[in-house]
Symmetry: C2
Subunit: 269 residues, 2 copies
Amino acid sequence: VAESPNYRFIADRIRAKIASGDLAAGAQLPTEPELQKEYGAARNTVREAIRWLATQGLVEAFAGRGTFVRQPPVPFVITLSEDPDTGFGGGEGVAYLREVEAQGRVPSVSPPMVEIQQVRPEIGRALRLAAGAFVISRHQELFIDERPWSMQTSFYPRELARRGASRLEDPVGVEEGTVRYLEQELGIRQVGYIDRLRIRAVNTDEERFFALRAGSQWSVLENRRIAYDSEGAPFRLTVTVFHPDHAEIAVIAGTVPESARPKHSPASD
Amino acid sequence: VAESPNYRFIADRIRAKIASGDLAAGAQLPTEPELQKEYGAARNTVREAIRWLATQGLVEAFAGRGTFVRQPPVPFVITLSEDPDTGFGGGEGVAYLREVEAQGRVPSVSPPMVEIQQVRPEIGRALRLAAGAFVISRHQELFIDERPWSMQTSFYPRELARRGASRLEDPVGVEEGTVRYLEQELGIRQVGYIDRLRIRAVNTDEERFFALRAGSQWSVLENRRIAYDSEGAPFRLTVTVFHPDHAEIAVIAGTVPESARPKHSPASD
DNA sequence: GCCTATTTGTGCGTATGTATG
DNA sequence: GCATACATACGCACAAATAGG
């Protein structure tokens, strides 16, 4: 008769209390010994129930403190499609700073970590580079209101630095933005880009950066953006990993009213 | 000294064997009793190790058969941004069928399940409807190569049916596409839309539809699309939930070469 | 269809470690 | 130091799913 195991039964009871508001967001669950008595189950069984709820993001356990109902995430919206006002947008560089500020929040960016790397196959394919070529990797960490928001790594063919865009190899930010810098220095104009979004499990670096609790595993949203110049040649690959809980991505196609755009909806939730 | 627990140690050993190819994709892991002997640990401990790897999507356990290294997912790319050739695209209706076929795969769509509902607050906000209003809900399930791909629910103000678009209330597909139908019938022309993508945990319906194994929990990609007419008024909300493993979303901005577009890259992986 | 061996799933009890206040 | 709460680890028993004889 498709009987469900006891830990699921207990989990569903707790879930119902959360849904009904009996256990509000941020409230502490009964402790494990209390749940044992309440349901007449062994400690491992109530732990299974809690684990089941934790993997669904409903509760979070802290050693020494207790288990708590998670606060619903407050999403921050970033717009990937181009901004008709500014030309280009999409969660990078200047556009990121502006979009965050427009929503009344405080953006910040770490200084870039710059490395020269031999190109990995997947990156070489995107940039149409030969196997032995070198790329400049510029890695930055982005924050909103001092909280980790995304990790961003841009790859440029090293050739660009040799041809005059030497500041790409400096571990300092390019104030005018690398898009504009490359246009000024080399006449490479970004006329378009393609984004590819997918879900994947976090790695340990990301788990640390986003301050995610190990155990309850997470999926992150990853975006791989390839930017093209007026010749139709790719000159940049930017990989962005977004916070799994707070990221919301907007894409605008055609004409939509100003009021519908994210930056004009103050504190929509 | 930040010593890591034994189950993590065991998990890392197994992970290394997977990374090195010692355990290939699809291969069976040693059984739990074998791992017990190999690492001198209790069964629960090796089970913790396997659970740790399972939550990261590396392995998958089947009662009665064994635990296996997961096959890497083969993503299917859907393009959200508008297609300059056809006007509108974005993973719905006709555009979905065409994009799947262009990638040499077989799309199929379930007949729509149609309901008249009193509007929920979140949907009312998107469509700018008053609290007591009614909406037409059209739900479809989309498949690629006979395998579940996405669940899609579109909400229209019921007003549209009263004004003449009565086929919105029929539980049959609208062959010419609802976008074109609304334009022909009511002169409502879709001039743009905004997509909002986010990650969230699956619910039980989705778990069943996508045939996901319970236990190893999953995150799905959800898209909420609001379509606007030439007056800037929203007339449709479409919520699409994509398969967590196989979905890859493309967004094109500005001008990119034809060869970079998903539909022209045959079997990119 | 049945029976059996194998493999993972569920559940219990206990002990000890570690984090928190 | 102390009490509390969750984390790790061990051992055991039985259930359920699977594959093969």
